[in-house]
Structures are given as structure tokens and as C-alpha cells.
């Protein structure tokens, strides 16, 4: 095919004109959008997916891997231009490290740790008087969690005494613990701390047409073997099932009917600036934790001057992330770090504690200390001297990481910044994000446990990431929260906008509270649940 007027200036000849009819228009092709599109197309719906970013060719993954390893080559996922501009205040939020725009969404870059939320996460207010309850509970999500684990291909074991109930085994066997995990084991045992496996969306054996892990060790941001799950997998399945995926199609706004009761069309722009209108019977907004809110705010109209689906005023508010807590140092023996880019052991032992009530899960890292390859490429010498430096710094590092919960706070929010525009002239998202004293306290507690373990192990703790140095885990949550009351929430228990029932929102933006588990398995479970309820009426 040659480039034509239909391809929106991309030059690849692909047709980017709207589909004449669509039952469902999905905005975004990350895991939330891709899973929903696949299930809906499989149920016979005519599905169009509009994706702002490009399609990254799998054949280029090793070149992208080189871009990651070698300084001076740029970001393998091409984040950070005018398209992705944003502003922030408060603590500051590194948004473009925290997401990817492209077919597959942020799972292109993600680490791939996938856990179910615990039961308490759904009932924080009634159990502990903090945060807010979800309008659904663990049991509602339980079958969808199992389906999500099968969809993503989760390698795991039923060895976690703190995990919520499950009846079926994980689809793939867990990765065996690392040598460094085995160094931690006696120290944890002496302290009465249980270690258990990490559920990984990463093939421990071939699964679903994808290879098993080859140990490239660069999982985040890039896995060249395809062993790490990315949503490209469900984009491909959706396509096979008949869905149409349009990349380079950034949705500018959603347009409602005269009565303001239904969404009628998604207006999208291609790189040449042409705006097109995709009508559909129903819409699924799956643009990620920040862009979901931003798109609703950009879709303000006379009827909805504060933004679409925002009669509650909650759109953009209650922005949350998980906070990283960590500590590390060196041991007197080989720790064998940096062979693989993922973790094999963690502990959820402190997750359900009430002092502090914030959830926390702690990880035993397999990538502590510098990688000799990266260190060599940044060194200020070479030859024998470099080798000596590498030998001196590789081999004895060990570290713990972990995530700590942040409770919802209306003042942490995403708004539009009218003074800064993106490549299409739209106001960029502005992120206001701060930590409360409670969150800081929870971080200090996480550090305390980490220090106790490391010291028991005989490590001289050299660094700690606690309340001062902490950063987000890149899990943007809460900006279109779910709830039963339309006055305080944006979507209902079925992820349907209270104001416009033909609009569903999927992704972690609907989480009323975020727990401390990585969010994507829950995102996937919710997307499958939404798709199932929509498919009933296709």
C-alpha cells in the first residue's frame, strides 16, 4: 500500500478514516482497552479501537533494548515530545516515565508483577474507617481475577499464606527463587517473616504462542523475547476476532447527544492534524489513569461545563499512586544480581496490618547494584582500569523494595493546564501530587522492616528510599473513581458513567482506593467484567 489521504499523514498507507458503523469504540489499547476489545469482538460486536500512539514492530525489540542499555540513544518508547507534554506541582510527578503511548500501552514498559488485591482493599472504610469502600468486593471480582490470570499468562504458586482465597492453580509454574532470595531466607525465618513467590505475567514456559523467558534481564522497559506479557497480545487477538485497531489516532474529545444523555462520537486527530469523527453505540474509555480524566475534562460542553461525566466534580480528583520504599547495601558473599530483570520472592505479611493501616508489600530484589554492562558504558575510563572498577562493584549488592499504599485525597488531582498545549493544541494535564503525613509514616514503617531484615542478614545498609526520596511506582489511580453515589463518584459498580450510561471507563482510574498491589491484574479483571456485561447486550 502506498501513503494516501486516508492514512492521516503517517505515511504507512493504513486507512485511518472512521468505521462506517461501530457497536463499540474503545479509546486506548493498553491492557484495559485491548482485553475489552478482544472480548467484545469475540462476542460479535463491531469494535473500533482508537490508539493515540504508534504500533511498535516486534522485530525491532532488540534494537530498542540496545537503546535502553546504551546511553545516548533515546527512549525506546519515544515518550516525551509535544504529544506527551504535562505540568506538575506539589511533589512533582514524572508522568512520562510512568506510561507509554502505543499499541499495548504502558505494558510495553511495565515490570509485569501481578497480584490480586486483598479483601480488605475493597472495604477500607467499613473495616478501618479510612478511605472509601469499593462498590464491589473481592468475591465479585474473584472469577475475573482467575480469567485475567489466564489471559495474561501468570506464573505463580499457591505458597502465599496472606493472599486472598483462590481455588485454581496459576496457569504457569512460578519462577524458582533466585540465589539471592535464598540468602534472605534464613534471616527472614529468624525474624518470623514469610517469603513467598511473586506472581509474574511472564512466561516460565511457552504460553499462548509466546516464548519462555530467556533471561535478557531488561524486562523493564523491554523484553525482546516476548516472554513478558504486553497488551499487544490482546490487540492481536482482538484483530483476529474482527476488531479494527487504528493507531496514530489521538482522541481529542467525546461528543454527546443534544440531551446530554449518551456519548455519540469520539473525535480523533491523526498526525496531519485532520480531525475525524467516529460514531458508535457505546464507548469504552481506556486511555490510562491520567488521560481518562483529561479526556473527560477536554470534552466539556455547554451541558457539562466542568467536563463530561463530571457532575460529581470527582473527575481528576483522588489521584493516587503507590510509593516506593527500599533499602540496600552489600554482603560479604556473591549475591548474583542482575541476571534477570524481575523478582522471584516477596512478602505480603504486613499488608493487612492495622498499624499502620496502609497496605504494604515488600520485595526481595534481583537487580540490586549496578549492572556491569551499564556501568561500563557510563564509566570515565576503560581497559584494565575499567575492568577493575567493574569487578570491585559487581557481585555483593543486595536490596529490598516495596510498595506502600496512598489513601485517596481530593487535593491530589489531574486538571487541565490552559497555558501549555500539546501537539494538537489541547491543554496538557496538570498533576498536583503530595504525600500526607500518614503516608510518610507508612513508608517509615516499611523501611523499618526492610532494615531489620537486611541487618539480620548481615548487610551494612548503604541506602534507604523512604519518605524524603520516595517516588511513584507508576500506577496512576483514582481519577474517575467508582462508587454507588453519583454525587461523589464518576462511574458505578459496572464502570458505567453515572451521567452517560453508554460510556464505560476501564483502568485504574476507577479504583476508589489503590491498596499496595501493582494494579494491572485488577485492571484486567475489571475490564473483563465490563466486557462481559456489555457483551450480554451486543
Amino acid at each position: 500500500m502506498s501513503a494516501g489521504a486516508d492514512d492521516g499523514g503517517v505515511g504507512d498507507g493504513a486507512d485511518r478514516t472512521p468505521s462506517p458503523r461501530a457497536d463499540v469504540c474503545v479509546v486506548g489499547s493498553g491492557p484495559a482497552g485491548a482485553l475489552a476489545a478482544h472480548r467484545l469482538a469475540g462476542a460479535g460486536a463491531d469494535v473500533v479501537v482508537l490508539e493515540a500512539g504508534p504500533r511498535f514492530d516486534f522485530d525491532e525489540r532488540r534494537e530498542q533494548q540496545e537503546e535502553f542499555i546504551r546511553p545516548g540513544m533515546g527512549d525506546p518508547w519515544e515518550m516525551g515530545g509535544a504529544r506527551d507534554a504535562y505540568t506538575d506541582s506539589g511533589r512533582g510527578y514524572p508522568l512520562n516515565a510512568a506510561r507509554v503511548k502505543g499499541v499495548g500501552g504502558s505494558t510495553l514498559h511495565w515490570q509485569g508483577m501481578v497480584m490480586r488485591l486483598h479483601e480488605r482493599d475493597f472495604e477500607l472504610e467499613s473495616r478501618h474507617g479510612v478511605g472509601v469502600d469499593w462498590p464491589i468486593d473481592y468475591e465479585d471480582l474473584r472469577p475475573y481475577y482467575a480469567a485475567a490470570e489466564r489471559a495474561l499468562g501468570v506464573a505463580g504458586a499457591a505458597d502465599n499464606p496472606y493472599a486472598p482465597p483462590r481455588e485454581e492453580p496459576f496457569p504457569l509454574p512460578a519462577f524458582p527463587p533466585s540465589h539471592s532470595d535464598s540468602l534472605f531466607a534464613p534471616a527472614c525465618e529468624r525474624l518470623g517473616i514469610d517469603m513467598h513467590s511473586v506472581p509474574n505475567a511472564r512466561n516460565s514456559e511457552p504460553y499462548d504462542g509466546r516464548a519462555s523467558c530467556q533471561g535478557y534481564g531488561t524486562c523493564k522497559p523491554i523484553c525482546p523475547s516476548g516472554a513478558k506479557y504486553t497488551a499487544e497480545s490482546h490487540v492481536a487477538k482482538a484483530t483476529e476476532a474482527g476488531a479494527r485497531i487504528v493507531d496514530h489516532a489521538a482522541v481529542q474529545r467525546l461528543v454527546h447527544d443534544d440531551a446530554g444523555e449518551t456519548v455519540e462520537a469520539a473525535v480523533y486527530a491523526t498526525p496531519d492534524g485532520t480531525e475525524r469523527r467516529q460514531p458508535a453505540d457505546r464507548f469504552v474509555l481506556a486511555a490510562g489513569g491520567v488521560e481518562n480524566a483529561r479526556l473527560l475534562l477536554l470534552s466539556a460542553s455547554e451541558l457539562y461545563p466542568d467536563g463530561l461525566a463530571n457532575s460529581s466534580g470527582a473527575v481528576g480528583r483522588f489521584f493516587m499512586d503507590h510509593l516506593f520504599a527500599g533499602a540496600g547495601g552489600q554482603l560479604d558473599e556473591p549475591t548474583r544480581q542482575n541476571h534477570v530483570g524481575f523478582n522471584t520472592s516477596e512478602t505480603h505479611q504486613f499488608y493487612d496490618d492495622t498499624d499502620p493501616v496502609e497496605g504494604m508489600k515488600l520485595e526481595f530484589l534481583n537487580y540490586a547494584g549496578p549492572s556491569p554492562v551499564m556501568q561500563a558504558l557510563g564509566a570515565e575510563t576503560w581497559g584494565e582500569e575499567l575492568l577493575e572498577q567493574l569487578q570491585a562493584s559487581y557481585g555483593t549488592h543486595v536490596a529490598m523494595g516495596g510498595l506502600v499504599e496512598q489513601l485517596p485525597d481530593a487535593d491530589n488531582r489531574v486538571t487541565l493546564d490552559p497555558d501549555v498545549r500539546d501537539d494538537h493544541g489541547n491543554p496538557v494535564p496538570h498533576i498536583e501530587w503530595s504525600l500526607s503525613e500518614r503516608t510518610r509514616g507508612a513508608l517509615r514503617r516499611a523501611n523499618e522492616i526492610q532494615h531489620a531484615i537486611l541487618e539480620e542478614l548481615g548487610v551494612d545498609v548503604e541506602w534507604t528510599v523512604g519518605p524524603e526520596a520516595t517516588g511513584p511506582a507508576y500506577h496512576q489511580m483514582g481519577t474517575t473513581r467508582m462508587g454507588t453515589d453519583p454525587a461523589t463518584s464518576v462511574v458505578d459498580a459496572d464502570c458505567r458513567a453515572h451521567d452517560l450510561p453508554n460510556l464505560r471507563i476501564v483502568g485504574s482510574s476507577v479504583f476508589p482506593t489503590g491498596g499496595a498491589m501493582n494494579p494491572t491484574l485488577t485492571i484486567a479483571a475489571l475490564a473483563l467484567r465490563v466486557a462481559e456485561s456489555m457483551a450480554e447486550s451486543v
Partner: protein
């Protein structure tokens, strides 16, 4: 410590190069000092195919001798197959590499009246350090020192330390970028070198 053909293949796999038979035709002009003045015909060179001037390879090997640790055996064969495979499908990279090499050669001719590869190893080392390459930011589009760092220093270092043999020297047989499987992370010590399938075939 000997670099094997497997190391070169491993390093190539880390850059996603098509791994061919390692044919070195050597039919291109060596980089000349005047290329550095900007009148080199990079665009056409870049289109001519995968092989490189043997003189360019000699220059790269001469840099590798400086930036690799002492006592590396079989270095030239490693550099040759790595470089040829590395630029096979990447004409832009090849053009950048040639240009950086030509510039380094031009400096050597200016300062020492000899091609870079003909200088003794200490002088080659000193020349790079005097140019400021040690502390330069690797940048394929930056000033000449940055480009030399990127194409001529970091690339061979990258090839070396992502290979199992280079990794082993440091203490890791499965460095990042090398698909060394998922056994090694479980072991308490470095596995014995698996020389069986090696050789420089």
C-alpha cells in the same frame, strides 16, 4: 581469556543484528583524513552493503585493544564479526561509525602523522584521553568526542560486556542484554564456561 565466535554472536544478538556468516569482503575504501572534513561520501557508502573496509576494522580493533582489558585473545575476529553483523541492516549506524572512525583517524594524522591503527597502544590510549573521550557523553550526533565515545568506545565495550566471556571476567555469566536463560540466577556461583559449542568457526 578468549573471545569466541559465540561471544560475537551473543553480542550481536544483543543489538538485534541479523547474524550471517561473518563474510568480510573488505572492498571499501579505508577512512581517510579528508573524510573528516565532511567531503566523504557517506550517503553512498552507507548504501553499498554490509561489508566494511578492512582498514576501518583495523581501526576499530586498535580502539578495542585500548578499551578492552589486557590479555583478550581473538579480539580481531570478535571485532570483525561483531561490527559486520552489527551494521548489516543499519546503514545510518554504519555511516555514523565510519564518520567517527574517519575523524579519529584524522586526529591521529594531525597529531602524530600516522593513521590511528599504526600508533602504538599507549599513544592510542593517550590520544583518546587527550581528546576528552573518557568523560565525553556518548552521543551519535554530538561533537566529535561524543561521537567517538558513542561509536568507537561504547560500542565495542557494549559488545564485550554483554557477551558471556566479557561478563565472566566481571563475575556474571549472564549479563543484561545476553539471553543466558533462567538457570544462572538460581546458582550460588558462576557456572563453568560452556566451551563445547564454541570455537571460532
Amino acid at each position: 581469556m578468549e573471545l569466541t565466535r559465540r561471544d560475537a554472536l551473543a553480542a550481536l544478538s544483543a543489538v538485534g543484528a541479523a547474524v550471517g556468516g561473518g563474510v568480510l569482503a573488505g572492498r571499501f575504501d579505508p577512512p581517510r583524513a579528508d573524510d573528516a572534513a565532511g567531503n566523504g561520501d557517506e550517503a553512498t557508502d552507507a548504501d553499498e552493503g554490509v561489508s566494511l573496509s578492512t582498514d576501518l576494522l583495523a581501526l576499530l580493533d586498535a580502539v578495542a585493544e585500548v578499551v578492552y582489558p589486557d590479555g583478550v585473545e581473538n579480539r580481531r575476529a570478535f571485532v570483525d564479526s561483531y561490527v559486520v553483523g552489527r551494521v548489516a541492516d543499519r546503514p545510518d549506524y554504519r555511516a555514523g561509525l565510519r564518520e567517527a572512525a574517519a575523524q579519529l583517524d584524522a586526529v591521529a594524522r594531525d597529531w602524530y602523522d600516522a593513521p590511528y591503527a599504526d600508533l602504538d597502544a599507549d599513544t592510542r590510549d593517550l590520544l583518546l584521553r587527550d581528546l576528552g573521550v573518557e568523560t565525553a557523553d556518548p552521543d551519535p550526533e554530538g561533537p566529535v568526542t561524543d561521537r567517538i565515545r558513542f561509536f568507537l568506545v561504547n560500542d565495542p565495550l557494549f559488545a564485550f560486556y554483554t557477551s558471556p566471556t566479557g561478563g565472566r571476567l566481571v563475575g556474571i555469566e549472564n549479563p543484561i542484554g545476553y539471553p543466558g536463560g533462567i538457570e544462572s540466577y538460581q546458582r550460588a556461583t558462576m557456572s563453568p564456561a560452556d566451551d563445547g559449542a564454541g570455537g571460532d568457526g
